[in-house]
């Protein structure tokens, strides 16, 4: 199996359909396949062991992904936001690589590592030039590693997560109907190319026959105007993007976004207030919440448009609560909640989320994290309700263990967010001589609101939860630290509280 099949099939069925729009340039599926085939020749002749991208989203991401697949090498896009030292260390781990993007930087920070670097334009031009030599180089459709992604590695050296062709193809073939998109459909892709969602977005759209419209860097006004000019029908956003889009529209931006039919979101916890506002603002748009991890080839559970509407319309608190859930597992994925001893827990009990399926790799360079039964421990904590709706409580590592009692930061944050002066909140463990761990909270205030006293916040938590949830330390911050995917960086908050 090889993911190149996805682009080959799209080019066979819709050779002249535009598959990608980037920086005003349009690529048909046939042109993309030619470029990927040419790139595979270039890659094979280069002697590289990896193909890497050090760039924002651009056409090179598609050409490199499928070019690497056709050449039988792993595609390993890197985060260009990393500092020089961190980046050089990752480049060393994939040397020698053919790196596309910031060639000057690659040569400056890793010039002695044996890499071959091209700018995105030079790479595309050279790939098309190399197409004529295609007969001289065999394609290598080895059933091996398609993609390698480095985890963010906040505590130790980044881990190299591996996705095999069989994982990625399993995900796409099981979740996308081939050629199901009409010629008028377009998907706006704004997630970074080194993130699993950025890679799966390319594969899903191509297999569905849905035009990819790339926005290299997110700004709400650019996002809105691309929707209008490209008549975009589908989009994926992270929660912070959706919040900013809503604010921009609410402040009177005049953009016609009536072409938009569906918005999928994921990558971090969506505040209920934001999704409620969005549902009210776009009553005709289908919203889907997607939950997945790098190690699972993207989405493993989703909350679909009907679930969103049912939750909004229902009087039943159980159904209403599902607006804050991750939805149900994909039909081809199994999910279990287990306790620390590995025992499967009944509905509504919180434990660690385990997942199994064809798309789940659970594998790092040199080591698989799967258990004997093929289950992957996600390190995410959560529970499932009686109908199989999955709720996320946070990272298993973020659970606060206070005097032997497990406390999920989410339950404290949810209560803090009900205070009229609180705009954002984060709870995390701080060291305590008495309890082992105690609770620290960081709070961001709404503009123009008076700061509540510490006692007021403590009382709120004591009244709504119980005394063991009351924080020992309270800090007021201007902002909470989020990464570019909208994920709250709890460790940074913890560091601020401890320091």
């Amino acid at each position: 199996m090889n993911i190149s099949l996805l682009l080959e099939m799209a080019a066979e069925m819709f050779p002249d359909r535009v598959g990608l729009v980037c920086d005003g340039q349009r690529w048909t599926y046939a042109e993309l396949l030619d470029a990927a085939r040419g790139a595979s020749v270039l890659i094979r002749q280069s002697g590289a062991q990896y193909v890497s991208l050090l760039d924002e989203s651009c056409e090179a991401a598609v050409i490199a992904l499928f070019g690497a697949a056709l050449a039988g090498l792993p595609y390993c896009p890197l985060n260009y936001r990393l500092a020089d030292g961190e980046l050089a260390a990752l480049l060393q781990r994939i040397a020698p690589a053919l790196v596309i993007g910031d060639e000057t930087r690659v040569m400056r920070i890793a010039g002695s590592q044996g890499h071959i670097a091209y700018s995105r334009d030079k790479f595309a031009a050279k790939a098309l030039e190399s197409l004529q030599n295609r007969a001289s180089v065999d394609e290598n459709l080895a059933e091996d590693i398609a993609v390698q992604l480095f985890t963010s590695g906040t505590t130790a050296a980044p881990k190299a997560a591996i996705l095999r062709h069989s994982n990625l193809l399993g995900y796409i073939l099981n979740s996308v109907e081939f050629g199901s998109a009409g010629e008028d459909e377009a998907s706006l892709v704004v997630v970074p190319p080194y993130h699993i969602a950025g890679i799966s977005a390319l594969m899903s759209s191509i297999y569905a026959g849905r035009r990819i419209v790339m926005l290299p860097a997110f700004a709400p006004t650019d996002w809105l105007s691309l929707i209008e000019t490209e008549q975009v029908t589908n989009a994926f956003v992270v929660p912070t993007m959706l919040a900013r889009i809503i604010d921009t529209l609410a402040s009177g931006a005049e953009t016609d976004i009536s072409s938009l039919r569906a918005i999928a979101y994921g990558g971090g916890k969506m505040p209920l207030e934001v999704i409620r506002k969005a549902l009210g603002m776009f009553p005709d748009v289908n919203f889907t919440n997607a939950y997945g991890l790098t190690e699972t080839s993207s989405t493993i559970a989703l909350l679909g448009p009907e679930d969103h509407r049912a939750a909004l319309a229902s009087d039943d608190p159980k159904v209403q609560a599902r607006l804050g859930s991750l939805g149900q597992p994909l039909p081809t994925v199994e999910i279990e909640i287990r306790d620390e001893n590995g025992q499967v827990l009944p509905p509504n009990e919180t434990g660690e989320i385990y997942v199994r399926g064809e798309q789940v790799s659970g594998e790092y360079r040199g080591k698989s994290a799967l258990d004997d039964g093929g289950w992957f421990p996600t390190r995410d904590a959560g529970f499932m309700d009686e109908e199989g709706y999955l709720f996320l409580s946070g990272r298993a590592d973020d659970v606060i263990v206070r005097g032997g009692e497990n406390i999920s930061p989410g339950e404290i944050e949810d209560v803090l967010l009900t205070h009229p002066a609180v705009a954002d909140a984060c709870a995390c463990a701080i060291p305590s001589v008495e309890w082992g761990e105690a609770i620290g909270i960081a709070v961001v205030l709404r503009d123009m609101k008076a700061r509540p006293t510490d006692q007021e916040l403590k009382d709120l938590i004591r009244d709504r939860l119980r005394s063991s949830r009351v924080p020992d330390q309270i800090a007021f911050l201007q902002d909470l630290p989020y990464n570019e995917m909208g994920k709250l960086m709890r460790r940074e908050v913890k560091k601020m509280l401890v320091d």
Binding site: L5, S166, S175, E177, G179, N286
Partner: protein, 96 residues
Amino acid sequence: MKSGIRLKSAVCDTEVMVIHCDADVVECGGIPMAETKPATLGTLNAEHANGTLMGKRYVDAESTCELLCIKAGKGSLAIDGVSLAIKDAKPLPASD
């Protein structure tokens, strides 16, 4: 049969990729398929000429075989003369 291998029809343009398959032989248009295409195409059996559709999955009644059509053609797919059916898939909303 090994999953991932591609089989070509001996009578038409049809090509499939094996998702999984217990049987050793899959027919298209009434004639066994193979990994390489014959120099000259055979004759399409009129009883197995309903055609294949690109991107559809084909399964037998017992789910011992599942094939993905990666190139459409005039022949239809069968195992031991019994036609394979298109697998019903519930569409999922786009999530990425």
